[in-house]
Amino acid sequence: MTTPVEVLDIPTRPSAWARFKDTHLFHSFTRDKVAMVSFGLFVLYALAALFAPLIAPYNPYDPASIDIMNSELPPIWQEGADPAFLLGTDAQGRDMLSTMLYGTRISLMIGICAVMLQMFLGVLIGLSAGYFGGRVDSFLMRMADIQLSFSTMMVAIVVLAVFQAAFGAELYADLAIFMLILVIGIAEWPQYARTVRASVLAEKHKEYVDAARVMGFGSGRIMWRHILPNTLSPLLVISTVQVANAIISEASLSFLGLGMPVSQPSLGSLISSGFEYIFSGAWWITVLPGIVLVVLVLVMNLLGDWLRDVLNPKLYKG
């Protein structure tokens, strides 16, 4: 029933990929070698973590595949190595390569999940504080100050040590991964809350927010659908740094014996378990996961730095 007059030549929207290729983000990415190398390495890490069970030659979680007679074998380029174990074995006879792949998987998973929890709490609290202002803002931000006055490590050590003492090491070993995510997630939410609040304070006085209020939209709709999308770039930047921080926290806790159990080692607990053997010559148990951890954290920080430069509105207005 459409008359020819109503037929409009509406141009189709270019595909998402085509639009992305036109963005400032993409252009500066193709010009920045550090960003490209970092991103490449990060993708490599992510793939290795995701497909660890397929890539790893052994399953380090399977006690049947471990032979104590193979313990402390050096990497393949050293004398006395067994060609079956590319990067040597640890004190229990587990293949280092497989253990590190699984460890990266656990470290990354804890890091990303903890940051998702931080982001959820931080965005919820920061958005409410910034949007409602007044007493709500004062209350929530003082909570954030209190949370920040306890260092992450202190909170984590106390909570995890009490949990371990109260419920026993066995239950702890089963729940360690969730506990770590919870503790790291809850301890660091003020970072997000402050960032979001600052952006919301800047955005909420803009006229498009008034326009939305004049339309009669509710606070929730205005906060989540109108203001939040305009505060996403700083969130993206701190997320990369926060994932790196969470991985470091997890590694530190594991090193202190409060993180992942020896049977499911993360990178941190691998470093820790190798520490006892470092002076007996078996340096690879500590050094190799150490290198993997340092490179992972470095790559994420470099990506975060690059993103911060690109998304800085003072350098580029987008």
């Binding site: 509406i10 004062s138 498009y208 008034d210 939305a212 004049v214 009669g216």
Partner: protein, 338 residues
């Protein structure tokens, strides 16, 4: 239709902004005692006016006189500190967010800065469709799309541009989109807060004509906030002149421009630059606008008024209807001195 029927009635509207900060900031040490001191900016002090159906009431005044505050209070963006606002006879300034929803549909607002009033992360179609969907939950997808398309045609925006983001448009186009957003809900009453002051002069006329066209086609009533007197002459049915949060004079446009009564209005009008300005007879006002924190007693204008006497310094003048249909708040006019 009855032209004399008021659509909006504002009575003794007051708005104060507290500027003394939180509780600890309010404590001051004075004369050996700790006292709690609160300071307010008196943005609006007892403003009363009616907006008649179908007219364009222009509110003029210099910066900081409270005209935008009046607009925002009328729209419910600010809660009034005193007084009342009635829309079609119903009091709307004390309604809850939910109860005010039906009025949101009828009252819409156009904002000053077209660069800030559109959400940068939403395409034009998203911006325009959201209010339609929100207020008409029963509408089908095609009805919503047709409605938005029709409004975009109305304001001279190609519906094909709907997939674009606001930063891809010029100021004038954005202001058209803002107008379209206000019109999508078929309002009766539109508050325009300096809608053209951020635009290029050549675009100002376009947008103004568009607003007048919309007024005719949709039978709109405008409350038009501006500081541009030439726009008022062109656009307004009646004019309200504000000074320091009070209404000085409210008159039909022709009457006001022909015979301004209030001394402030006279000074304001004499400041319009004219082409044949051989002998400029600008009335030069002495002094500065007083601070709205400590309002002067009596008539707020008395400090700068050449005709002020003792009564002006003590008694606040009321808006008094005059024989020519205007209303003037001035003791001098009331006494026949001026």
């Amino acid at each position: 239709m009855n032209a004399q029927q008021p659509i909006l009635q504002v009575r003794d509207l007051e708005k104060r902004f507290n500027i003394s900060g939180d509780f600890l900031d309010q404590l001051k040490f004075q004369g050996g005692k700790i006292v709690r001191k609160q300071e307010n900016v008196h943005a609006i002090n007892g403003v009363s006016f009616d907006v008649m159906k179908g007219e364009a009431l222009c509110v003029v005044g210099e910066s900081g006189c409270g005209k935008s505050t009046v607009a925002r209070t009328v729209m419910g963006l600010l809660k009034p500190s005193g007084g009342s606002i009635h829309y079609n006879g119903e009091r709307i300034d004390q309604l809850s967010d939910r109860a005010v929803l039906p009025y949101r549909k009828k009252m819409q607002m156009i904002f000053q800065n077209p660069y800030a009033s559109l959400n940068p992360r939403k395409t034009i179609t998203q911006t325009l469709e959201e209010p339609v969907r929100f207020h008409n939950p029963g509408m089908s997808e095609t009805e919503v799309k047709d409605k938005v398309k029709a409004v975009m045609f109305d304001v001279g925006i190609d519906p094909g541009w709907g997939v674009r983001y606001p930063h891809e448009f010029s100021g004038g186009q954005r202001q058209r989109i803002s107008i379209a957003r206000a019109l999508t809900l078929d309002p009766e009453f539109v508050v325009a807060d300096e809608p053209i002051s951020a635009l290029d002069v050549s675009i100002q006329a376009q947008v103004l004509n568009l607003m007048m066209k919309a007024q005719e086609e949709h039978n709109l009533t405008y409350l038009f906030i501006t500081h541009d007197l030439s726009v008022v002459e062109h656009f307004g049915t009646r004019v309200a002149v504000m000074y320091l949060g009070t209404l000085c004079e409210l008159a039909p446009t022709k009457t006001l421009f022909a015979t301004p009564r209030h001394p402030y209005t006279q000074a304001l009008l004499s400041a319009i630059p004219r082409l044949q300005d051989h002998r400029p007879n600008h009335i030069k006002l002495q002094g500065e606008v007083p601070t709205p924190v400590n309002l002067p007693s009596g008539c707020v204008f008395h400090g700068r008024c050449p005709h002020a006497n003792d009564r002006c310094r003590q008694e606040v003048p009321k808006l008094v209807p005059q024989s020519d249909g205007s209303q003037v708040a001035c003791h001098g006019v009331e006494e026949g001195r001026l």
